[in-house]
Symmetry: C3
Subunit: 134 residues, 3 copies
């Protein structure tokens, strides 16, 4: 059954964690040649995104820009104090879908799949599904 889950730990309050290697391994071990990989984040103060991985400054710039767009120093009603992380979760989205062709996820040259921690450090679980195109 080509679905499962895996765990990860974030170390900072906000950071990107590159999942591309893990996802490549999952697809390889499944033996599926063509289809769709869906990666799903079940947490409400984190997200998933696909963006540049070569220069880590890009990840920093995205997080810094999100922090300017959704500042800590604004009025929020939610008393836990992590409303900005919830907003960022909706901005980045709860899942990514990536096409599999000839046994490989079809990321672009500079693309990596990132888990976006917006309210860490925490232990997180991610879920994946592989739909074969038969």
């Amino acid at each position: 059954m080509p679905q499962g889950q895996f765990e990860l730990h974030s170390n900072g309050r906000r950071e990107f964690i590159d999942l591309s290697g893990r996802i490549r391994t999952i697809v390889r071990e499944s033996g599926i040649q063509d289809g769709l990989l869906v990666l799903y984040n079940p947490h409400t103060t984190a997200g998933l995104t696909i963006n540049e991985g070569a220069d880590t400054d890009v990840q920093r710039d995205i997080l810094d820009t999100f922090a300017r767009m959704v500042p800590d120093a604004a009025h929020y009603r939610h008393l836990e104090g992590n409303s900005p992380a919830h907003v960022m979760a909706s901005l980045s989205g709860a899942s990514v879908s990536i096409i599999v062709h000839q046994g490989q996820i079809q990321l672009g040259t500079w693309q990596r799949i990132f888990f976006c921690e917006f309210d860490g450090p925490r232990r997180r679980t991610l879920r994946w599904l592989l739909l074969a195109d038969r």
Copy 2:
């Protein structure tokens, strides 16, 4: 044929409407055990998101933050006056994809599926598809 549509009514100009219960019913009645549920919003001034449902203040904080990011009091060309709602539709996205396992959508503990009304009140139609993993 595991696809269909359903209607809903929004009551306010901007609000989140929890669709999790309806989606659980759709998945249960389909009899599908493992696969992917795709929920699709065909409207251009509304969106879909997955976020916390326990404290309704989180929904309010997300809507308020979107309104600060995309203020009504800015210059827009579109003469209908609802450009902010169109921008918010692109920020939240037109669909959500959720993994189904053992007959259940795999939402996280605090996650709910929300229809995001950005230009209500209106009558809206949503479309869904269930892809079985066979």
Copy 3:
């Protein structure tokens, strides 16, 4: 095998390019009646979105609002100078999923599928997958 890719050229630094016609052709030629179309963007300074196509002012308003949210005149670390385009890529997302019913993509009345160029002009390649619901 219902997957493939196609090329397009952007002409401006930032613009929306309507792909709805191409996608309708792809779905028609596939012969698939019911299922899911996934369109994937492998570039890190571009995105995909679904929004209104009738009044081109809406596209302009979305791009202008994105530029206010992610201004060029802010501090970014990435030395290539296109960090705002990377942020916009994460805001819009790397893929769109659209339900196919009776051989037709189920776009809403006013919806069009847009490629979002955030750092053009460039030659871009997009990838698509059609999952049949059998």
